[in-house]
Symmetry: C2
Subunit: 142 residues, 2 copies
């Protein structure tokens, strides 16, 4: 297997991760809105994400196509069990990334900003390492 193959595979994975990233963000936000407000309306989603409501509605359509969300016209958006699971995974991972960045010494504001982009590229192996690191760090310097 030539050397460039592994690099190409890495780039390909990185590209594929971007496609999933938007769905993850939407799922997390919808779960957040449902928990806080009891409903997730397209307009609120759009405002929180900084996109037009038309864009939000189209992406919600993609969530529905992929079996992550359901919605009835004029009745808000809800998550399927798969969507809930994704949202939980994303939320947990997001918090972990922020915590690790802060533990390393990144200012809180930058940690929040960067985690938004970083979190979608964290593999399970890295996630485990982050978790272990946090435990050790908390034990060493409480």
């Amino acid at each position: 297997m030539p050397a460039e193959t592994s690099q190409a595979r890495r780039f390909g994975k990185t590209r594929a991760a971007q496609a999933q990233a938007l769905l993850e963000d939407y799922a997390e936000l919808i779960a957040d809105l449902l928990a806080c407000d009891g409903e997730a309306r397209p307009t609120d989603i759009a405002r929180r994400l900084g996109v037009s409501h038309a864009t939000a509605i189209k992406t919600i359509g993609r969530l529905k196509r992929e079996g992550l969300a359901t919605s009835l016209p004029y009745r808000g958006v809800f998550l399927t069990p798969a969507g809930e699971a994704l949202a939980n995974k994303v939320r947990t991972r997001h918090r972990l990334v922020v915590a690790v960045l802060i533990a390393i010494g990144v200012p809180a504001e930058a940690a929040e900003q960067d985690a938004e982009g970083i979190e979608h590229h964290i593999s399970p192996a890295t996630l485990r390492a982050f978790s272990a690191f946090l435990k050790q760090y908390a034990g060493g310097a409480p």
Copy 2:
């Protein structure tokens, strides 16, 4: 300033970072090829990135439009000073991210893979923190 504004701004920044990410990858790879082989041919770039040569050529066109690269037909691609500067920045940042991940305990292979996606979302503040963390880590456990 309402709470959703800052979240929207974060998402917007994250989206904008994705547009820059491809250019960064190309610049880094072109610099690498120039250093190793003395030339950077579209076909090699395409193979290393795992895309078709047509895609590579189109993206090279974008690099040229943005003043990062030059090329003459059938004569390979070269970086402008701006392109070189970008490549250097990216290479340094990439190594730093990998080093930090490994220091935290991420397996080397996962560190390489994840760094590919992570590195484009590292702000200057986080970069400084990473650098400082590495120094401290090297001092504490050599």
